[in-house]
């Protein structure tokens, strides 16, 4: 049970902490108050709790696949927030309206990530409240998973802030790109689970090389959306998501240089 708790909590915490570390690192360059980002975490946490409490109602929506559809919606929203964040960062924040837009996107991204990942953790842990024998390994496993996830986020944050600005922007851009694409891959996964997208045979199976449930597998899942057995539509969606961000970035850069 401990391993299950580690895997589930690590997966959720890692995703959220990567997004937060990216935003926090970027906030150094646009002098955003850390309080506004902290506000996003607290607000997201409260929404996550409310979402988890009303999960039975939510699950009944859309003919019983409400949870999958809402999760897919949250992840899609995170993708668009990341797309907007990259676009605004490329446009610049010289005008107050641009700065406000960027800060709003960062706070919204943190709120959405906290809801999505936080609700999963709350649901998982509260699910064991009626099984006291299993609660201890679940809590210990959750602490270990959260500890690893937060530690990776802290390491990436300090890696970004101690780099030169140029390198920090480059690495930050690639990370944002990969995390955003991973979100789209998960959207497809959720919609397959909801039977909104037809399930197909996987394109490949790399579970013998890197198991999805291993620490490495979880790290890669959060970082690049690693799936050991992805379906063709997942792969297509993943690369389309990357292509869209790259296209928007080039468009903004070409507009700026004109």
């Amino acid at each position: 049970m401990l391993i299950n708790a580690v895997v589930i909590v690590l997966r959720e915490v890692l995703e959220a902490s990567l997004i937060m570390s990216l935003f926090l690192a970027y906030s150094q360059h646009v002098t955003v108050s850390r309080l506004s980002l902290l506000f996003g975490i607290v607000l997201g946490g409260l929404f996550a709790w409310a979402y988890a409490v009303h999960i039975s109602t939510v699950s009944n929506w859309f003919d019983g696949v409400g949870q999958e559809v809402i999760n897919a919606g949250l992840q899609l929203a995170i993708y668009f927030v990341l797309l907007g964040f990259i676009t605004q960062a490329l446009i610049g924040v010289s005008r107050p309206i641009e700065r406000i837009t960027l800060i709003s996107l960062m706070v919204l991204g943190i709120v959405l990530a906290s809801i999505r990942e936080g609700s999963e953790i709350v649901l998982f842990i509260t699910g064991f409240s009626s099984a006291p024998d299993l609660l201890q390994p679940v809590l210990i496993g959750s602490a270990i998973g959260a500890g690893i996830g937060i530690s990776v986020g802290v390491c990436i944050y300090y890696l970004l802030v101690t780099m030169s600005f140029k390198n920090s922007v480059r690495v930050g851009y690639v990370l944002t790109l990969l995390i955003a694409a991973a979100m789209i891959s998960q959207v497809v996964q959720q919609l397959i689970q909801a039977d909104w997208i037809v399930s197909e045979y996987p394109l490949w199976d790399t579970s013998n090389w890197i198991n999805e449930r291993s620490i490495t597998g979880q790290l890669l899942y959060a970082l690049i959306g690693y799936e050991a057995t992805p379906t063709p539509i997942q792969v297509t969606a993943y690369f389309s998501a990357i292509a869209m961000i790259v296209f928007v970035s080039f468009y903004q850069i070409s507009r700026k240089t004109k």
Partner: protein, 446 residues
Amino acid sequence: MRSIRTYLLLALLAIITLVTFVSLLKGYQSSITKAQQLFDDRLKNIAGIIANANQDTQPRTAGVFKLSPGVFFQIWSDDFMLLAHSNNAPLTQLFDIDNDSAFNNINFSGYRWRSYTLQDTTLNRWIIVGERDDIRYTLAENVVLASIIPIVLAIPVAALIIWVAIGLGLKPLRELSEQLNNKQADDLSPVVLRETPKELTQLVTTTNALLDRLNAAFLREQQFSTDAAHELRTPISALKVQVHNLQTAHKVNDQEIESLALGIDRMGHVIEQILALYRHSPDQPLMKRAPLDLCAICQHVIAKHYDQIALKQQQISMVGEEKCVIKANKFALETLLDNVILNASKYTPDCSEIRIGIFQNNQSVKLVIEDSGPGIEAHDYDRVFERFYRGKGDQHDSGTIGCGLGLAIVKHIVAIHHADIVLDRCADLGGLKIVITFPKQVKLTS
């Protein structure tokens, strides 16, 4: 990086947590595997004990062996007759004779079981023993968890210890920073730390060398200033005496002698002003400050220059508080008042009015000097504080001795005292209005 302490704490804690928890997981998996091996060995031993303890070769007609719900056994004859079994064992055969593996995972009664099959060749029997998988796993996990929990709980304790340790490590840096921050403006003594770590030795040595050089430079300049004042004042005083003697003893009193006397006065004034400007430069650290009554000093300065003011039949008045204490340098404050009051007198016509006001509130003391003279054009308000700048340039029409340093000196003294000066047109008298605001609480540091 906003704080070295936070950076070190978070970075160290993240690395320690990451390495510890990943190792913990590896250790957990290895321990669980090891525990499973131990349980398997135990199962094998149980099968051996049953084989020795039970000699049944015919099916037992009455009674079954009562065991705990997590363990079962069956004894089968070679021709697949159930000879004996525990109360929780099914009556069906739970082993495959063709299976070479002694250990197997089987399912019955809604649980997964780990079983071991022993062939009793002496009595031609098959003994099958099994344990519930979930109970085995929970037991193994509880044993491993007992060793994991203290490590997980140690992380917050480690965070606290790291926080304190980093704080202690950074103490010399904090001490250095506090010493530099708390240094008085005139304190150029070397920085002395109780213990100077190797990493800070160079910084402390360089800072002290810099302070030492700065102190020497200021002392040198002060010496130069004193020498220059003495060396320049003496010949000018001698020249003044000579001119006076020329005028009185030789009864010479023509226009050229008058111009000579005026030129000597002007030279004397310029030298005094240049020396005052130097002495009150804002980067001059050797200036002692003490609580002073601005009203008393102001009265003293008015009295000092009253003859000159009376000569022009000017009316001077002082209004406001009776006592206003500010922390200031007496000589500097007198020089400031000398300049603003003499300026008001010099640059306003005969029979004009000069009004001085001193007011205070909880935060500040306000000195207001107003006159009924021509005032200064608004576009010149900033420029009059520049050295050697005189309104209307060399064509200044006041006809008084001046060199354009008075307000520059005033500005310097205002800066030294962290005060603020504003020029305006006096609505009442129509001339210049100077408002100098002194803060009551001044952090007198560099």
